[in-house]
C-alpha cells in the first residue's frame, strides 16, 4: 500500500485537533486515560507510518513546490519523535493525572511532535522556520504547565526569554541569507551560495542561523536555558524536550547545512563552517560534562549531560570532510546517536518523573538506597545511565564509538580525544548516581512504593530498546546510514 509521503505528519496534526475536539464535546468529564492513549497511539502510528515509508523505499519526494522534501532522514527522525512522544504520553498518564487542562497538555505535545516531524521534512528556510516555531511555542507552554509551581513558572519564563531572543536571531539570519541570495529553497540556495558576491552578509546570516539551531539543540552559546527549563519543567516534558526537541534541532541543522549550504561552496567563499561546529562541539561537550559533574541535583545533572550529548552529536557536522563515504559514516553515526539518545535519555528523565511522583527529593543523597524499595526502576536507571556514558550495556556504546571513529578518520583526532575524555568524565558522575541508588543506605527503610503503571511501562520500554540496540544495532544503524546518504549525496 502506498501511503502519502506526509502520513506521519498528518497523523500527528489530526490527532492534536482530535484531542481538542474530544475535549470540546466533553469539557467537564475527566478523560486522562483516553487522551493519553490517543496521544500515544498517534505517536506510535506516525512512527510506524514512517518505518513503512522507509521500507517502501520511495526515495526522495518533493512536495508543495519544493517547500517540503521527504526522504530517509525524514522517516528516520519522525520515527524517533513518534516513539518519544508515545513514551512521554504514556508516562504523562500518571504524571498529570491530578492536574487541570490535560487536553491542552496532550494537544501541545502532539502539536510539538508534528512540528518536529515537519522540521525533519523541511526543504526551504520558510518551512524550516515555521516548523521550528511550531515546536518552540508549545514547548514554552508545556514547560510552564504546572502553573502553581514556582519552579515550573520560572523555567517557562527563562525558556521563553531565551527562546524568543534566539528565534529573533534566527529570523534575522534567514533575512540576511535571503538578502544575499534572494531565495529560500534549499536546492536554490545551494546554487545561489556558490560564488556568491555578498560574502559578509551571507556569512553573518549563516552565523545567526547557527545561533538559532544552537538554541534548539541546547548547544553553546544558547545552552543556558536548558538546565533551568529541564529542572523546573514537569519531568515528562523535560524528557520530551531534551530528546525529541534536541533531535529535531539537529535534523534541521543537518538538512540546512548539507542541502542548502554545501561545504565545498562555503570553503571557496572562505567560510569553513565545519570549523565553527568543531569549536562548538568541543566547548559544548566540555561545558556540559564539567558542569554536570559538579551538580548535586539529579535533574540538573541530566540537563547538563544533555548539553554534553548535544556536543557529541555536533561531531556529525564538525567532521565532514568531503568524500561521500566518510561523510555518510559520520553523519549516520550522529543520527544513530540521536536515535539511541532519544530512548535512553527519555527513559532517564522518566525515572526522575517516577521519583518525583514518589516524593523522593531532588538531590543525589535523596536517591540513596532507592534500589531497596524500587529495584526494577533502579536497575533500569543504571542501564540507561551507563548507556549514556557509552559503556557497552546499551546502544550508546556503538554510536559513540562510531562518532569518535568518524572524527579521527576526518583528521580531527583532537575532537575525538576531547570526546573520549568527556565520556570518561561523564562515567564519573553517572556512576555517582548509580552508586547512590544501589550502594548507599537509605534514610528510611521499608518504604512501600506505589507502582504507577504508565511511567513504569515507559521506562522499561526505553531500557529494553536501549539494550536491544546493543545486541542488534544493524536495523537502526542501516536506516541511519540511508538517512545520512539521502542528505549527503542529495
Amino acid at each position: 500500500m502506498a501511503l502519502p509521503a506526509l502520513t506521519p505528519q498528518y497523523v500527528l496534526g489530526l490527532a492534536a485537533l482530535l484531542v481538542l475536539v474530544v475535549d470540546a464535546f466533553t469539557p467537564t468529564s475527566r478523560k486522562n486515560g483516553l487522551l493519553a492513549g490517543l496521544t500515544a497511539l498517534a505517536g506510535v502510528t506516525s512512527a510506524g507510518a514512517a518505518a513503512w515509508l522507509y521500507a517502501g523505499g520511495a526515495g526522495r519526494t518533493t512536495l508543495f513546490d519544493g517547500a517540503l522534501a521527504v526522504d530517509a532522514s525524514t522517516s528516520f527522525f519522525t520515527a524517533v519523535f513518534g516513539c518519544v512522544a508515545a513514551l512521554v504520553a504514556v508516562a504523562s498518564y500518571d504524571y498529570v493525572r491530578e492536574e487541570p487542562h490535560q487536553s491542552a497538555y496532550y494537544a501541545l505535545v502532539l502539536l510539538a511532535t508534528a512540528g518536529m516531524s515537519v522540521m525533519a521534512a523541511a526543504n526551504s528556510l520558510v518551512t524550516a522556520f515555521l516548523a521550528l516555531e511550531l515546536v518552540s511555542l508549545p514547548a514554552y507552554a508545556l514547560v510552564a504547565y504546572l502553573k502553581r509551581d514556582a519552579g515550573s513558572a520560572e523555567a517557562g519564563l527563562k525558556y521563553f526569554v531565551v527562546g524568543a531572543l534566539s528565534s529573533a536571531i534566527l529570523v534575522y539570519g534567514i533575512s540576511l541569507v535571503y538578502a544575499a541570495t534572494g531565495v529560500f529553497g534549499f536546492a536554490a540556495l545551494a546554487d545561489a551560495v556558490a560564488g556568491n558576491a555578498h560574502v559578509t552578509v551571507l556569512g553573518a546570516g549563516v552565523v545567526m542561523l547557527i545561533g538559532g539551531f544552537a538554541f534548539k539543540t541546547a548547544s553553546v552559546p544558547f545552552h543556558f536555558w536548558a538546565p533551568e527549563a529541564y529542572e523546573g519543567a514537569p519531568a515528562p516534558v523535560s524528557a520530551f524536550l531534551s530528546s525529541a526537541s534536541k533531535a529535531a534541532g539537529f535534523v534541521l541543522a543537518f538538512r540546512v547545512f548539507l542541502l542548502a549550504f554545501p561545504l565545498a561552496a562555503f570553503e571557496a567563499l572562505g567560510i569553513p563552517w565545519t570549523l565553527v561546529f568543531a569549536v562548538l562541539a568541543v566547548v559544548t561537550m566540555t561545558l556540559g560534562n564539567v558542569a554536570a559533574a559538579t551538580q548535586t541535583n539529579v535533574k540538573r545533572m541530566l540537563a547538563y549531560s544533555s548539553i554534553g550529548h548535544a556536543g557529541y552529536a555536533l561531531i556529525g557536522l564538525a567532521a565532514l570532510s568531503g568524500p561521500t563515504s566518510s561523510d555518510v559514516a559520520v553523519v549516520g553515526a550522529s543520527f544513530s546517536h540521536l536515535f539511541v539518545y532519544g530512548f535512553t535519555n527519555t527513559g532517564a528523565f522518566l525515572v526522575v518523573a517516577l521519583a518525583e511522583r514518589w516524593g523522593v527529593g531532588r538531590t543525589f543523597e535523596d536517591y540513596a538506597g532507592l534500589a531497596r524499595s524500587a529495584p526494577v526502576a533502579s536497575a533500569v536507571l543504571a542501564v540507561l545511565l551507563f548507556s549514556l556514558a557509552g559503556l557497552p550495556v546499551g546502544g550508546g556504546f556503538w554510536t559513540k564509538y562510531a562518532l569518535f571513529l568518524g572524527a579521527v578518520q576526518s583528521g580531527l583526532w583532537w575532537l575525538a580525544a576531547v570526546g573520549v575524555v568527556n565520556s570518561a568524565l561523564s562515567l564519573f558522575y553517572y556512576s555517582r548516581l548509580v552508586k547512590a541508588v544501589w550502594v548507599d543506605a537509605p534514610d528510611e527503610t521499608g518504604v512501600a512504593r506505589e507502582r504507577p503503571t504508565g511511567i513504569y511501562a515507559a521506562v522499561v520500554v526505553a531500557a529494553v530498546v536501549t539494550v536491544a540496540l546493543l545486541v542488534a544495532p544493524d536495523v537502526v544503524f542501516s536506516w541511519a546510514d540511508a538517512a545520512a546518504r539521502a542528505l549527503v549525496s542529495a
Binding site: L17, L20, D23, A24, F25, P27, S103
Partner: protein, 131 residues
C-alpha cells in the same frame, strides 16, 4: 543625488509647518491665564486616582482570541489577492481547499476555547474595574 535633496526639503518643510503654526498662534493670540484652563477636563470633572490601573485580567483572553483572528487576516489577505488567478490556473478546489482547511483548524481551536469556558466572563465583587 537629486532625489535625496527632495527628501531633505520635504523633511524640512514637514518639520517647519507645525513649528510655524504654533509660533504664529503664540504671536497672535491674547494671553489670558486662568486656573480653569489648567485642569485635566475643562468640563469641570475632577480626575481621581492615578492614570495607571490594572485592567481586569479576563481581557487578556479576549485579547488573545482577537490576536488569533487578527493574524488570520494577515494570512488570508494575500490569498484573496491571488484568488481569481489561482482559480483560473489551478481550479476552484486547489485554490479554495487550503484556505478552508486553515480556517477549519482555527475554528476547532475557537470551538475548544469556547466549550472549555475560556471566554466565559466571571464577575467577582472585589474587583474594582469589573466591567
Amino acid at each position: 543625488m537629486n532625489e535625496w535633496i527632495a527628501v531633505g526639503v520635504f523633511a524640512v518643510v514637514a518639520a517647519s509647518i507645525p513649528a510655524v503654526m504654533v509660533s504664529a498662534s503664540r504671536l497672535l493670540r491674547p494671553s489670558v491665564p486662568e486656573k480653569g484652563k489648567e485642569t485635566v477636563y475643562e468640563s469641570g470633572e475632577v480626575p481621581t486616582g492615578g492614570t495607571r490601573l490594572n485592567f481586569n485580567i479576563q481581557y487578556y483572553m479576549v485579547a488573545l482570541l482577537f490576536v488569533v483572528f487578527d493574524i488570520e487576516t494577515v494570512l488570508i489577505f494575500p490569498w484573496t489577492v491571488v484568488y481569481q488567478d489561482a482559480v483560473g490556473a489551478a481550479g476552484l478546489g486547489s485554490a479554495l481547499a487550503p484556505m478552508l482547511v486553515f480556517i477549519a483548524v482555527l475554528v476547532v481551536g475557537l470551538g475548544w476555547a469556547w466549550r472549555t469556558g475560556v471566554i466565559r466572563w466571571v464577575s467577582s465583587a472585589n474587583t474594582e474595574f469589573n466591567t
